[in-house]
């Protein structure tokens, strides 16, 4: 018990607020309160508030078909566009701070020992995520598998349903599809380091959001988690704490992958040197230090950082 209290005390304050927001959004989105879906008379996160259905694509679809789908899911379209717009300017706020489906496994996972978790963060995220995304969008529906069957987004709301006495929740948890999704929740959520493996690899909303995040990161006025390179000591504490595995140490300097970064600020909280921060434009235009014989700021192909000015002065 004391151990648990100490563990909670050790959490940096900003992260405590983030956890609180995720818990609050769980109560707002899920049973038994269902406050936000209830505003549009929806009994769960399916049906007209589904934010991921309308972008399924089939060959031969006319623009009218696409707009027809969007009309059915109009509320979902509004929510998703709102998410993408915030992402463009401020980073992936929805994913990191609000999304209860990604947030709950993260919170649960953090209570378990790291030793008995699967480390997914070193896996190549881009091929897996966008490979699955394209399969989810086009191939599976074309092959006759309903996108709703594939949707594992609903598992967590259904668990809440089950615990709040809604027969629908229990029915889903006992169905064959529900049981497998529950197992996946354990493997990709509770027993994944930092609990965000589902967000990293399978979430289609996250995949779209990541693209927008990376696109916005190219502009200098948008706010993102950025590294001030001449301050980075290469201690790699940020990379070890990053829940989405978006920080990679390249030549002992942290490089942020803006496809996966959720701007959760955990790296900001743990960095003793103030080298990594959620900021609009990079400050290190004129590095004081440099390395000989090595490419000082290598840009890995699959990772995006801001466009840095040429280092002419130092060369």
């Amino acid at each position: 018990m004391i151990k648990a209290i100490e563990a909670i005390k050790a959490i940096p304050n900003p992260q405590k607020y983030r956890y609180a927001v995720i818990m609050a959004s769980c109560t707002l989105f899920f049973s038994p309160f269902l406050f936000l879906p209830g505003l549009v008379d929806n009994p769960d996160l399916c049906g007209k508030v589904c934010i991921r259905r309308f972008y399924l694509f089939f060959p031969g679809m006319s623009p009218a078909d696409v707009s027809g789908k969007m009309q059915v899911a109009a509320i979902g379209v509004y929510i998703l566009s709102l998410i993408l717009i915030t992402t463009f300017f401020f980073g992936r706020m929805w994913c990191g701070y609000i999304c209860p489906v990604g947030g709950l496994p993260e919170l649960v996972s953090r209570t378990f020992s790291d030793k008995w978790k699967i480390e997914y963060r070193a896996l190549p995220q881009v091929p897996i995520r966008y490979g699955y995304f394209s399969v989810y969008l086009a191939l599976m529906p074309m092959l006759g598998i309903s996108a709703c069957t594939l949707c594992n987004f609903i598992t967590i709301p259904r668990i809440f349903d089950a615990f709040s006495g809604n027969p629908k929740g229990l029915a889903f948890a006992l169905s064959a599809v529900g049981l497998v999704n529950l197992a996946l929740l354990f493997l990709l959520g509770f027993f994944a380091t930092k609990g965000r493996a589902y967000c990293q690899f399978l979430c289609p909303v996250g995949a779209l959001d990541g693209l927008v995040n990376r696109l916005g990161a190219k502009l200098r006025f948008t706010r993102r988690i950025r590294v001030e390179r001449n301050r980075c000591t290469g201690c790699n504490i940020c990379a070890r704490n990053c829940m989405t595995g978006s920080i990679k140490m390249v030549d002992r300097i942290a490089v942020v992958d803006q496809l996966s970064c959720m701007s959760c600020h955990e790296c900001v909280d743990v960095c003793d040197w103030g080298a990594i921060d959620w900021r609009a434009a990079p400050l290190d235009e004129d590095p004081k230090r440099k390395k000989k014989g090595v490419d000082f700021h290598p840009q890995p192909q699959w990772q995006a950082v801001y466009v840095s000015p040429p280092l002419s002065k130092n060369k």
């Binding site: 089939f58 197992a183 595995g245």
Partner: protein, 419 residues
């Protein structure tokens, strides 16, 4: 009496006559109401059930067939008192209204034929109406006309103002071409009602189907003819739980939240004709037959692309997927076929990993002490160290303690600074 007053009385009298005529719109030329309008006209039938033969006049007049004389339908009744069996109605009979374009009496024959050819056709009662209502409601494996078509209000109460408004324009709008009181009187209302919109929406259709199909015990009794052997066989869980599996699909969920873009039962199972011809999937005419599915899906705006050749497997999407409903359903407990699903196999493969990780976490939490935990290398801990942190994992470093340090290709930061 001055002329003015006399005229006023005349006008009053005429208006009175007119109101009387309006009431006469519901005639009783056969005198059925002389008995059936009596309250407490009860009798005990063969099964010993007390049944009421009283008819509430007001209720009947406001109903769909309220303006039709009784004997137009109950044709076999010739003498009084009549036998109960003679009260039965054949809906395929010619009707009271004459179709103006053909000059022939209207008939439900075409609808009845479509229905008789459907899965619900050959069953309960040959004449399709009649028999004991209670027995039908409880036992009938297939429904008669009457089962779904109650004698309900011709126009829904909510739609009445709309109908009245339209009816006021009937003379000027429709009457410019369709002249003659017969047409306006007999068909104007019929057609206007249809313009206002169908009486039932998709949710009402589903409610009607679910009246029987959501009743698992009832559906478990249904027997279907096996096309190959020609014998009647019990149906499987797919049929019995069809209503539940539909409810898990997007179609069902949309209608549940009153978004009418979802497809109702008959949107797929009887999309054409009089929408009574539900056929089994195996029948080549069936809208749900594999060859016709693309066309059936494509009738909606949502799936207009379904006929595209690249999407030929889209129509294979299982809309009655029993994997989505509880495995241990009490209605089909002994059916092992449900456990052969690919999802269950996936679960069997996944669950040992969860047990190991869960058990390990628990043991570590209890006995692990304060030692800082690092993810096992087999679970990806080393890969993370190597790829993301860029350091050799501790497990590998320890082994190489006694070996000579090889010169590295890249310089470390400290060395770079020193130079």
């Amino acid at each position: 009496m001055p002329l003015k007053h006399f005229l006023f009385v005349i006008v009053l009298f005429i208006s009175f006559i007119q109101t009387v005529n309006a009431a006469q719109r519901h005639p009783d030329p056969d005198g059925c109401f002389s008995c059936h309008a009596l309250e407490g006209l009860d009798y005990i039938d063969k099964n010993g059930v007390l049944r009421s033969a009283s008819i509430d006049k007001q209720h009947y007049y406001s109903a769909l067939h309220g303006s039709v004389p009784c004997k137009d339908c109950h044709r076999r009744i010739r003498e009084y008192p009549h036998k109960v069996e003679n009260g039965e109605v054949d809906c395929a009979n010619s009707c009271h209204v004459e179709e103006p374009s053909e000059g022939e009496p209207y008939t439900h024959k075409a609808v009845v034929k479509e229905y008789k050819d459907s899965v619900h056709g050959n069953g309960w009662y040959k004449g399709l109406t009649g028999g004991n209502r209670f027995r039908e409601a409880k036992e009938a494996p297939v429904a008669s006309c009457r089962f779904c078509h109650g004698n309900e209000l011709y126009i829904r109460e909510a739609e009445l103002p709309k109908f009245k408004e339209a009816f006021d324009h009937l003379d000027s709008e429709c009457g410019s071409c369709h002249q003659g009181e017969i047409w306006l009187g007999q068909f104007g209302g019929h057609i206007l009602r249809r313009f206002i919109g169908s009486r039932w929406n998709k949710n009402d259709h589903n409610k009607m189907c679910n009246g029987c199909h959501a009743d698992h015990e009832r559906m478990a009794k249904v027997e279907q003819k096996n096309e190959k052997t020609g014998k009647k066989e019990k149906t499987g869980p797919r049929f019995i739980l069809a209503s539940d599996s539909y409810a898990t699909t997007l179609h069902g969920r949309l209608l549940e939240t009153n978004v009418m873009q979802g497809a109702s039962c008959i949107d797929c199972h009887a999309p054409k004709g009089f929408r009574h011809g539900v056929l089994r999937d195996e029948k080549s005419d069936a809208s749900t037959h594999t060859d016709n599915l693309a066309e059936t899906c494509a009738q909606s705006d949502c799936h207009a692309y379904a006929t595209h050749p690249l999407n030929h497997r889209f129509v294979k999407t299982d809309l009655h997927d029993i994997d989505m409903i509880p495995v241990n359903n009490s209605i089909v407990p002994r059916d092992q076929s449900r456990l052969e699903s690919g999802w269950v196999k996936a679960l069997i493969a996944l669950s040992p990993i969860i047990v190991i990780l869960g058990g390990g976490s628990l043991l570590w939490w209890l006995f692990g002490g304060k030692k800082k935990s690092v993810t096992f290398s087999i679970l990806g801990g080393d890969a993370f160290q190597e790829k993301m942190i860029g350091r050799k994992p501790k497990s590998k470093v320890k082994k190489k303690v006694h070996q000579k340090k090889k010169p590295t290709a890249t310089l470390t930061r400290k060395e770079a600074e020193d130079e």
